[in-house]
């Protein structure tokens, strides 16, 4: 087991390394977007640009630039090109908003995803199932940013039912915190509610056809007991896996939602930095996001390996 964990951790580092190299390369091929020129302001003489290039190392060989940047990422000295601010400080400041958004949305989507999936599966083929299926597929088929824009227009500006986005610190005012987040939570959750209820429905239907469930029924166990003991417990495994991965991906920044509701979290910082082609924050956020994806992937893997020894053995055999 320990060996498996070590292997997975090494794999994790390798993936993060590749991600950082790729990000670095993508932004170094933008033609004529020399950050020195943007920093030098208008009317900049070539001498000034040359000095900036030297000072910031923009003309060093690429591998060296990469190493310098990564060094700064790990020492916390990374400074953005636009506004020359400390990137890590900005990210840390953005985390409460992003985490609040993701946690709240996750609670909603898990609750309704499981509820709807369960109802669909036990009433499979019935009117309720059809109705919920229509809702779920519609939820999956909507552009999220579009839904957000429409919500914002009708529920905030036109009717003022909800306040517009804008994150309020939990410690300042917990009620306002929740009030300001309701709309972003719902918008973000709708997509996942649809997805999760679909997955749970199909996995429950699969499990219900398994032999051991039939046996349990044959033994005369109550339907309720069969459902809770056998069906739900096994059907929830893919949901748990999925949740791990989705939540990891989300912590990297719900870019569109944060930007539209101006929640001022990590996602919005990513969005703003992308708009201004500002490599240092983008690099840090990509790495930070990728870290969560890979971490949760790895945790899910390890949990599985723990639960299912075949995977572990299969690995060490190779």
């Amino acid at each position: 087991m320990a060996r498996f964990v070590v292997r997975r951790l090494i794999g994790m580092v390798a993936v993060l390394f590749a991600v950082s190299v790729l990000t670095f390369l993508v932004f170094n091929v933008i033609p004529n977007s020399d950050p020195a020129q943007r920093m030098a302001g208008r009317a900049a003489k070539p001498e000034l640009i040359a000095t900036i290039n030297e000072e910031w190392g923009f003309e060093d060989p690429l591998p060296q630039q990469y190493l310098t940047m990564m060094g700064k990422v790990f020492s916390g000295d990374l400074v953005s090109y636009k506004g020359r601010e400390n990137v890590e400080e900005r990210i840390v400041e953005g985390i409460p908003a992003t985490v609040s958004l993701c946690l709240g949305a996750a609670v909603i989507w898990l609750f309704f995803g499981i509820l709807f999936g369960y109802l669909s599966a036990v009433r499979a083929g019935g009117l309720l199932d059809r109705g919920l299926t229509v809702l779920a597929v519609t939820g999956i088929s909507m552009p999220v940013f579009w839904l957000a824009a429409i919500f914002l227009n009708y529920l905030t500006y036109k009717t003022e039912i909800f306040p517009s986005g804008e994150y309020v610190e939990f410690t300042t005012d917990p009620l306002e915190w929740a009030n300001h987040l309701i709309l972003p939570w719902i918008t973000l959750a709708i997509l996942y509610v649809g997805f999760y209820s679909r997955v749970l429905r199909s996995s429950m239907l699969d499990v219900m056809n398994e032999d051991y469930v039939r046996t349990a029924r044959a033994k005369g166990l109550s339907e309720r007991r069969v459902m809770s003991r056998h069906v739900m417990r096994n059907s929830l495994i893919p949901i748990v896996t999925l949740f791990g991965l989705d939540f990891g991906a989300l912590l990297g920044g719900a870019i569109l939602i944060e930007a539209i509701f101006s929640l001022n979290g990590v996602g919005q910082y990513a969005y703003e930095s992308l708009q201004s082609l500002d490599l240092p924050p983008i690099m840090a956020i990509v790495l930070y996001g990728a870290f969560f994806v890979v971490l949760l992937n790895t945790l899910v893997d390890i949990a599985y390996a723990y639960l299912d020894p075949r995977i572990r053995l299969g690995t060490s055999a190779q």
């Binding site: 977007s33 020129q37 920093m39 506004g83 020359r84 005012d173």
Partner: protein, 543 residues
């Protein structure tokens, strides 16, 4: 559980009561004190005066960091007047326009109590140069500045300061009529000697103006309080600079402009810095004009440039045809009332502006001229940035060129990268495109030197996008800037404006207007919109 509930209740009540207090405070008439709240669409790029280079930043530091000279705290043309700041009077200019002599006022103090010294001026200039500020280029004509910027060693030899007498002497390598304006830019605002040479946006240095920044959280919010040294010392020494009405100013970032507007409408914030988007503009204007809303002119020119070195725009006739074809009336509509038509280089509000229009809209005439010129190269690329409505203006322009018989491709570039990209000679297909120019200072040289003088053409960071290089006109630009601005120079610039438009390197189409929008708690009539710095924070007064 019950305890938590109680705590929530208490918190909610506390929140409610502060709101209530704010509401009570704002209901009484014309008063001093109180708190001004406001919103920005994004955090100013810098709050460090050496680095700040945008209207947003300058609005935020106008009343905080004072240079030796500054601009009158007034709206419109009156606000374009250079007045003494930390210096006793306007500079004495000698040595054929190459030496500027100023004297620092006696008894000035920074907000932390440190006395202001004459030698802080060269230190601040050096700090600004060492930071590679976007403003460096305005000061490289100071003797020794270029060398200092390159080596970052020693001193800028052209500045001499005497702490005892407060005398400051600046030597320039060549006469520079704009230099008084440049001394009034925040880049050279005075900071204590020894201020760290790094961006201090998150940790602002001590102030000399009526307000000091007491808290700064980049990306979200910042706030001001009265500078304790203003009432003690500085304010009495600089009576031309108002001391401000409110005691505290709290500004925050609200990314969505509909939210900004609705917060001002509901009185949750008192002021929004951002210009209202075209979507909401007509409604807000109709509802609040005169009571909470006012249209403000900006000193700006929006134009389409044509690359005069390449076919088809190397042909004067083609450029003139384009000028006849572009219809400023259509563009006024595209900018939804936030643009007023202009067909020349210098916008209203800029000294030397004399209105004229050499090319009144005439599509038939334009088509005829193109037929006469019959350019062989009709494949062109139109460039624009991606900010609405500039990109829509670009799309309109592409349509116009197609109507004239060109095969026009369209390139929309991220706004952040637009100027470096079109200002780089190695970018292919730089034929024609959109651009705008907002004044750095109210001196017409600012519109001609970088954008139209052949001497400013450079391989990168080029702003002479038309690449026009007319030796006679180049010389005129240089000569006009050898003297400080006077009536004679203003007439010269007006003439220059017409001469350039005869060459038609651009098809200018308008000048932007912006707006002041405040809550009902603020006295709109007192709010100043300075053409260079925007809304003046000292002018906001709670009713």
């Amino acid at each position: 559980m019950r305890k938590l509930g109680l705590a929530l209740l208490v918190l909610a009540l506390a929140g409610g009561s502060t709101l209530g207090l704010a509401a009570c405070g704002s209901s009484s008439g014309g008063k001093e004190g109180g708190t001004l709240t406001g919103s920005y669409a994004s955090f100013p790029e810098y709050l460090d005066p050496a680095l700040a280079y945008s209207t947003e930043s300058w609005t935020a530091i106008y009343d905080t960091y004072l240079p030796l000279l500054t601009y009158a705290h007034a709206s419109g043309a009156a606000g374009s007047k250079v007045i003494p700041g930390l210096a006793v009077g306007l500079p004495k200019i000698s040595n054929g326009g190459k030496t500027y002599t100023l004297t620092l006022r006696k008894g000035l103090k920074y907000s932390d109590g440190t006395p202001v010294k004459a030698s802080d001026f060269p230190a601040s200039v050096e700090r600004m140069l060492a930071l590679e500020s976007g403003g460096s280029s305005f000061y490289t004509s100071i003797v020794g500045a270029e060398k200092f910027a390159e080596t970052k060693q020693g001193n800028v030899s052209g500045i001499k300061a005497d702490d005892k007498t407060g005398k400051i002497v600046v030597d320039l390598t060549a006469p520079r009529g704009t230099f008084s304006n440049e001394l009034a830019m925040p880049f050279v605002a005075l900071l204590p000697k020894g201020t760290p040479v790094k961006n201090l946006t998150a940790d602002p240095p001590p102030a000399t103006g009526p307000y000091e920044i007491v808290k700064s959280e980049p990306g979200r919010a910042w706030s001001y309080e009265r500078n304790p040294q203003w009432t003690n010392a500085n304010g009495k020494l600089m009576p031309e600079i108002p001391g401000g009405h409110v005691n505290k100013i709290e500004l925050k970032v609200v990314g969505n402009d509909s939210t900004q507007v609705s917060e001002v409408e509901r009185g949750k914030t008192d002021w929004m810095q951002t210009a209202i988007s075209a979507d909401l503009y007509p409604k807000v204007k109709e509802k609040y004009e005169g009571t909470q809303f006012r249209v403000e002119p900006t000193v700006s020119t929006y134009y389409f440039w044509m690359n005069t070195t390449k076919p088809p725009f190397d042909d004067l006739k083609v450029r003139q045809a384009v000028n006849y074809a572009v219809n400023p009336a259509a563009l006024e509509r595209i900018y939804a009332g936030t643009l007023s038509a202009l067909h020349q280089v210098l916008p209203p509000g800029m000294p030397g502006h004399k209105p004229f229009d050499l090319y009144p809209h005439d599509m038939a005439k334009a088509k005829k001229m193109i037929a006469e010129a019959d350019p062989s190269d009709r494949d062109i690329t139109v460039w624009t940035d991606n900010e609405s409505p500039n990109n829509e203006a670009g799309e309109y322009y592409q349509g116009v060129l197609q109507e004239l018989g060109f095969n026009a491709k369209f390139k929309e570039i991220n706004a952040e990268n637009y100027a470096p990209l079109v200002g780089n000679e190695s970018t292919p297909d730089l034929d024609t495109g959109w651009f705008d120019w907002f004044e750095d200072y109210p001196h017409p040289n600012d519109f001609f030197q970088l954008q139209l003088s052949g001497e400013s053409i450079q391989p990168t960071s080029n702003y002479n996008l038309a690449r026009i290089d007319d030796p006679t006109l180049n010389k005129k630009i240089t000569e006009l800037n050898e003297q400080p601005l006077g009536p004679q120079q203003e007439a010269g610039y007006a003439e220059l404006d017409r001469e350039y438009m005869e060459q038609a390197p651009w098809a200018p189409y308008g000048t932007l207007t912006t707006s002041t929008f405040v809550s009902s708690a603020i006295d709109l009539d007192k709010v100043i919109y300075n053409p260079t710095f925007g809304n003046d924070l000292t002018s906001f007064q709670l009713k």
